[in-house]
């Protein structure tokens, strides 16, 4: 067989490209990190078993995780790794295959298309080959695709899949040869990830267009019939092949209430996640970058303009090549250009935005990335076709020059990629730590030990980080930052970050910051944490990673490894293993751990959200085997289940409403379109009135709209310069009472609006109207307070804006400014008086206990730690409760109380004397202290601050430390002041005590000004991570600049108080009346992560069973017996199939009893035993539950803030006392069924392939 020189050249180039990635990694190195880990290259089998074989995640609480799609690919990786052994070589082989196959397939596509041109326009062989090779090189080395190799994700195989499948389908469409279709199908099976849910953006961006192109090309250009019947067969086979991951995924999406279903079909996913992101990013995307094939969001390089060459070729092609193929390719190029750039005219952008209303289109929110592969492919095809057109028009010598130029351009501009510099990235926000890691062999021992841990409890990994990462140091001083190896390779449920702690996170952070180990342990018990894995390596938690991934965690957890050691000691855990003196594994003893599956000793209703405040209810139990429900609907419907009720009293002091955000930000500041002097301004006024009249009720929307229009008055004064003054008004308040809006018939009085005073009067009228309406509405006190607080915030902004307007309006002279400043100040005093937003009494705090409030006797508790040992009194309905002897360490106990037929129960907590935090401190002047002078502290009251007007003699003013400042706490600050009508600024500074929040922040600031003594009062909420604070009084910008630089500004201050607003937990605990007659003994065993058996002994009555795994309706409890056989057709069919498969399985897998009864742990004096957990993907009992109805479905409820619970009654189990239950995740059963279909499809394809091969 003769091999042409072109074929040889293509072969050589393909081989060269294949070997490029072999130079990227040094022996032993791997690039595994990033958001989407590539740990599968490191240990494909472990990754497969942990992530893809079962439908539950090993991360955190263990929610549903459908990652079956990667099974064939991981098996292929495992197969290759078993041959080559080194993960470095596996990575290089796969990257090499991706690049070289991408090049080769593009070459074949272009060659095939050019060969198929009509004879009249068909270029010669040399041109076809050259164009094909150059197109392939463009596809591989152009600026856009090479950059993605720095962070390759699992669907990155799209690089070769798109052109390869296009070529195979092209051949299939043209020849009708089934072999092309069958090979395509096999390829899609092996790389199923690209045809799965996660691969849907790249799939839907390319294949519909590709098939359309092929259809048009075959039918209208090649004038051949489309093999419809074969395509239909291919589609059926495709669906069968992909069934193993598509069916569970589709069922999951279509399950009512599923997260994914809501996400795809609901407004949250379509608009919030999709459209909002698109709208935010689209304006930054450059059409020119796309047209030149450049990378978006990148600083332009000096040579980028050279890439204009390729669009130039396209246009020249259009001028010189009139073939239909060329026009068709250009049309598809333009279609993909539209999708990849989005910014083709406003109408185009609007249409794109409208597409986001289609279910599923939100997958294209990162459109420039998700369309880029389809765009690159059609761009490449056009490059090939355009080159052939140009080559036919130029001389041979020019052809060589152009070819050489393109090759040099592509190779030189991608040299960083070829040499590996582009992929050898530094870890983001690290101290230049390399990402190509050589794994420390010692860490393999760690993973092996973790895999062998006997108890099926969860693991807490420390140091904790922010977002589900793990940091590991490599042998070569590089590091891995990516998803945790414990979750992904050791297949153990693990919490490694704040994000994974979900709603429990905030309370854990608070407890960690306070170093409240009791509280922390109470929460960790609820989370089923048995082990702590601690990486003590200073390399991974120190200067090397000053920010990510520990940015937030550091503010709450210790910020040094030494601190962590102390912290772990405080938790009272026992060290069970140390490896290389770096990796430590600890375990909690049985008093601080409840097993993965347990029968609770008590079922309690807690009137507080468990996940937010888990420590409170747990602290009332010595034996932590309790099931806590916090859903009042469940409690009201099933009161008979509960033996204890814990009711948290709600603090009803309005001061807490000051800091609740009722709704999201309401509007952007209004724009001003008409001048006040305009003769059509009255129409603006009329339109505003009509707009407000549209609202029937005084609700949040109405108040927002009213504030919006009031703010418009401020903006008119701020934005419109040269607004005239009347200069004859003493007070805006008085003027506002007299001034009347011209009626519609007084249209000629349009100039009436054009003055500062009138606009201010209209503003005051509008604001006062809002205040009256807020007060008169029948909304709750909470709603009124939040509306007033919101209004107050805007008033502050408006005042600042008016002050700026006075300063900046050059048409005003000093007198005018002084006049306006006085008017504005008086107006705001009047408005604030009307607002009457006074701070409530900080010494008497009202509480309420509300429905559900079942009758019975209650113990009353106040949390001791929340009260700083202050003397307090507690009263109910005016009756003081007497203190009792403490029963629990953290709680003060008060006399019991009886509740009978009450809807609510008001309580009052009185603090006899609320301390003034600044009672022992004094004002200081910063500059004097810094000079070391003793007279820094000023002990007089009132204190006076006098500063020179001269701007150069600046001063920091008065400072006062506030001791004992705590994070996330409300404080009331008040003082009397007199500023002699000049502006001063009151600033509250806060800072934390950790590395990242050690800088001072302005927590609150307000300008103060008065002609007489006035009281300043404000409530502030300290930042979560604040640990100290100080007050500063300093001068502020003046509204009127004084001509006399010697003028003295003076402020006097007295009676400063800073008081903490106490908010202690008050809990009413019912006296237990047990309804659980007897708790049976159980032995539970994990068969695999989606299936457990529970052997129950001595069950005498109803009892509860808890599975400490993320709640999901698909967790079902089975008791396979004749009575529970499903009576539906689906059930009968499933039973028949399950019976056959079970029989087949039993004939294949021998029965074994060895080790099956081994008990690895025993709890509560043997009442709960844990069998040796197994990971059996397929065993003799796999199909035992097929065709059986689950039991106790109605009592399957969320418990402990995240877990699953069932209440099992004797009738559910045919009144037996000894039996075995099966807990199973049903999506795994669906997977088994779907896998059979895929297996069937694969067999058909292999059979057809064999048949074709034999026929040939």
């Amino acid at each position: 067989m003769k091999i042409s020189r072109y074929s040889l050249l293509v072969f050589v180039i393909t081989i060269l490209i294949f070997f490029i990635p072999f130079f990227w990694l040094k022996p032993g190195e791997m690039d595994l990190g990033g958001d989407n880990s590539r740990l599968y290259f490191y240990d494909p089998i472990a990754y497969l078993l942990s992530q893809s074989t079962y439908s539950v995640s090993h991360s955190a609480f263990g929610g549903e995780n459908l990652s079956y799609y990667a099974i064939p690919f991981f098996l292929l990786l495992a197969f290759i790794k078993s041959i080559v052994h080194s993960p470095t070589i596996v990575i290089s082989i796969f990257h090499g295959l991706n690049l070289s196959l991408g090049f080769f397939a593009c070459y074949l596509v272009v060659k095939e298309l050019l060969k198929g041109e009509e004879e009249a326009v068909r270029p010669n062989q040399s041109i076809i080959e050259t164009s094909g090779i150059l197109a392939g090189l463009y596809y591989t080395f152009s600026p856009n695709p090479i950059h993605w190799w720095g962070y390759p994700l699992l669907p990155m195989n799209v690089v070769f899949l798109n052109p390869l499948l296009f070529f195979l389908l092209l051949r299939f469409f043209l020849t009708g040869g089934m072999r092309y279709l069958l090979v395509s199908l096999l390829v899609t099976f092996i790389f199923s990830s690209n045809f799965s849910f996660i691969g849907s953006p790249t799939f839907f961006s390319f294949f519909p267009l590709a098939v359309l192109f092929l259809g048009i090309y075959t039918k209208y250009i090649k004038r051949k019939s489309i093999p419809i019947a074969k395509i239909a067969v291919g589609l059926v086979l495709f669906v069968l092949l992909q069934a193993f991951h598509l069916i569970p995924q589709i069922v999951s999406i279509l399950t009512p209430g599923s997260f994914l279903g809501d996400f795809i079909f609901g407004a949250q996913g379509k608009l919030e996640w999709g459209l909002k992101y698109f709208v935010a990013t689209a304006p930054s995307i450059k059409v020119s970058y796309a047209l030149l094939g450049l990378l978006q969001y990148t600083e332009p390089k000096f040579y980028w303009w050279i890439f204009i060459l390729f669009p130039l070729l396209f246009v020249l092609g259009l001028l010189w090549n009139k073939s239909k193929l060329y026009l068709l390719s250009t049309i598809f190029f333009l279609i993909t250009l539209f999708f990849v750039s989005a910014n083709i005219t406003h109408i185009g952008l609007k249409l794109y935005e409208l597409a986001f209303r289609l279910p599923g289109f939100a997958m294209f929110r990162v459109f420039y990335g998700q369309w880029q592969w389809a765009y690159l492919f059609f761009y490449t095809v056009l490059v090939g076709l355009a080159l052939s057109s140009v080559f036919t028009k130029i001389r041979a010598a020019e052809r060589y020059v152009l070819t050489g130029f393109i090759v040099i351009l592509l190779v030189s501009t991608s040299w960083q990629f070829i040499s590996g510099q582009l992929t050898d990235t530094k870890l983001w926000q690290s101290k230049d730590i390399r990402s190509h890691i050589k794994m420390d062999p010692v860490y393999e021992d760690v993973l092996a030990f973790i895999r062998s841990l006997p108890v099926d409890g969860k693991i807490l990994s420390l140091p904790l980080n922010d977002h589900g990462y793990q940091v590991l140091k490599g042998e070569n001083d590089a590091a891995y930052i990516g998803p945790s190896t414990i979750t992904y390779l050791a297949a153990r449920n693990e919490f490694t970050s704040i994000a994974e702690l979900g709603v429990f996170g905030e309370s854990i952070l608070a407890a960690a910051k306070e170093k409240n180990y009791t509280k922390l342990k109470n929460i960790l018990i609820m989370l089923n944490i048995k082990y702590i894995f601690y990486n003590a390596d200073p390399y991974i938690y120190g200067d090397n990673f000053p920010a990510l991934p520990y940015t937030r965690a550091r503010d709450f957890f210790p910020d040094t490894q030494e601190g962590y050691k102390e912290f772990i000691k405080g938790l009272g855990v026992k060290e069970i293993k140390t490896i290389a003196n770096t990796f430590h594994i600890y375990e909690f003893d049985d008093t601080s751990y409840i097993p993965h599956i347990y029968t609770p000793k008590s079922i309690a209703y807690s009137g507080d959200v468990i996940a937010v405040n888990a420590s409170t209810p747990v602290s009332f139990y010595t034996d932590k085997r309790v099931a806590f429900f916090d859903d009042s609907t469940i409690f009201n419907a099933r009161q008979e289940l509960f033996d204890t009720v814990l009711l948290k009293a709600r603090n009803t002091s309005t001061i807490f409403d000051f800091f609740k955000k009722k709704k999201s930000d309401r509007f952007v500041s209004p724009t001003v379109s008409r001048k006040l002097s305009s003769f059509i301004y009255p129409l603006v006024v009329l339109r505003e009135k009509r707009d407000l009249n549209r609202y029937g009720d005084i609700n949040d929307a109405y108040i927002d709209r009213s504030i919006y229009f009031a703010e418009k008055r401020i903006n008119e004064l701020y934005e419109l310069k040269d607004t005239p003054l009347r200069r004859n008004i003493a007070s805006i308040s008085q003027f506002a009472q007299q001034w009347r809006e011209p009626t519609l018939w007084e249209f000629f009085k349009f100039s009436e609006y054009n003055s500062w005073e009138v606009t201010l009067a209209r503003y005051q009228q509008a604001i006062k109207k809002i205040i009256i309406e807020i007060d008169s509405t029948n909304q709750s006190a909470y709603s009124r307070t939040t509306s007033k607080v919101e209004l107050k915030t805007y008033l502050k902004e408006h005042k600042e804006k008016l002050r700026t307007a006075i300063r900046q309006d050059s048409s005003l002279n000093t007198e005018d400014r002084r006049y306006l400043s006085g008017l504005i100040d008086g107006m705001f005093i009047d408005i604030h008086n009307s607002l009457s937003l006074d701070l409530p009494d900080v010494g008497n705090i009202p509480y309420i206990v509300e429905n559900p409030l079942p009758n019975g006797k209650y113990e009353v508790y106040v949390n001791k730690n929340d009260m700083d040992d202050l003397p307090i009194d507690l009263s109910v309905g005016g009756m003081k409760l007497s203190p009792m002897e403490a029963q629990y360490e953290e709680w003060l106990k008060y006399s019991d109380m009886q509740v009978e037929n009450k809807q609510s129960l008001p309580l009052v907590l009185s603090i006899r004397s609320v301390p003034n935090l600044v009672a022992q401190t004094h004002w200081t002047v910063a500059e004097q202290i810094s000079l070391g002078k003793e007279q820094g502290a000023i002990e007089t009251d009132p204190v006076t601050l006098a500063v020179m007007y001269n701007f150069l003699s600046d001063t920091s003013g008065l400072l006062r430390d506030i001791p004992n400042w705590e994070g996330d706490t409300i404080y009331a600050i008040s003082f009397d002041y007199l500023t002699n009508d000049q502006n001063f600024l009151m600033v509250l500074h806060e800072k934390g005590d950790t590395e990242t929040n050690r800088f001072v922040n302005d927590a609150y600031e307000e300008t103060i000004r008065s002609k007489e003594w006035r009281k300043f009062k404000v409530a502030v909420l300290s930042a979560k991570d604040a640990s100290s604070a100080s007050l500063q009084i300093t001068r502020d910008l003046d509204d009127v600049v004084s001509q006399d630089e010697e003028t003295i500004k003076k402020i006097e201050i007295k009676n400063l108080t800073v008081q903490k607003i106490y908010n202690p937990n008050i809990v009413l605990k019912s006296i237990p009346q047990s309804t659980i007659s007897a708790i049976p003994r159980i032995t539970f065993t994990q068969i695999n992560p989606t299936k457990y058996t529970v052997e129950v002994r001595d069950a005498k009555g109803p009892y509860a069973l808890v599975l400490s795994q993320s709640f999901n309706q698909k967790w079902k409890l089975f008791y396979p017996s004749l009575e529970h056989e499903a009576k539906t057709i689906k059930g009968m069919l499933a039973r028949v199939v399950g019976g056959i498969l079970g029989s087949v399985t039993k004939s294949i897998i021998p029965e074994t009893t060895e080790g099956s009864n081994a008990i690895v742990a025993s709890y509560a004096n043997g009442a709960i035993q844990e069998g040796k957990h197994r990971i059996d993907f397929w065993n003799r009992d796999t199909f035992d539950t097929w065709g059986f109805d689950p039991i106790a479905e109605k009592s399957h409820l969320p418990v402990n803030g995240y877990a699953n619970s069932w209440v099992i009654k004797p009738e559910d189990v045919n009144n037996r006392s000894d039996y075995t239950l099966i807990i199973e995740m049903t999506s795994q059963k669906l997977f088994y069924g779907s896998l059979l279909l895929s297996g069937f499809g694969l067999l058909i394809i292999l059979f057809l392939c064999l048949k074709l091969f034999l026929r040939k």
């Binding site: 970058y289 030149l292 130039l312 246009v315 259009l318 001028l319 049309i331 333009l334 406003h346």
Partner: protein
Amino acid sequence: MNRIWSYVMNAIVYRSMYRGKIVTFLEQNKQVILVSLVGAIFIDSIFLKTSSDVITFGVLAAYGIYAKMTHITSKLTFLLCLLFLTALGISFFSSSASVTTEKFSVWLFLFMIVGIIQELRT
């Protein structure tokens, strides 16, 4: 597509009572109009910092009518594409992805579509 195109053209041009006069006027001032349209595109791209669909589609529609009535071929449209591409290249070289560069990119895109439609119609 062809039918819609014909319908629009017929409605605008052939049904007009001034059809003959307009055609004559356009043919007599063919080059002036072309230069004006191209000039408008350059003014829009170089001097106007905001983009308006009214201008874009107005000019495009004017070019479409002009092309239809004066029977110019796709070659001229593709030559104009070449002109816009040259302007794009110069603009990209001098100011990277500036407003001007972006506008020329969009004009190039739109004129490529017009050219392809003309080519398909012939």
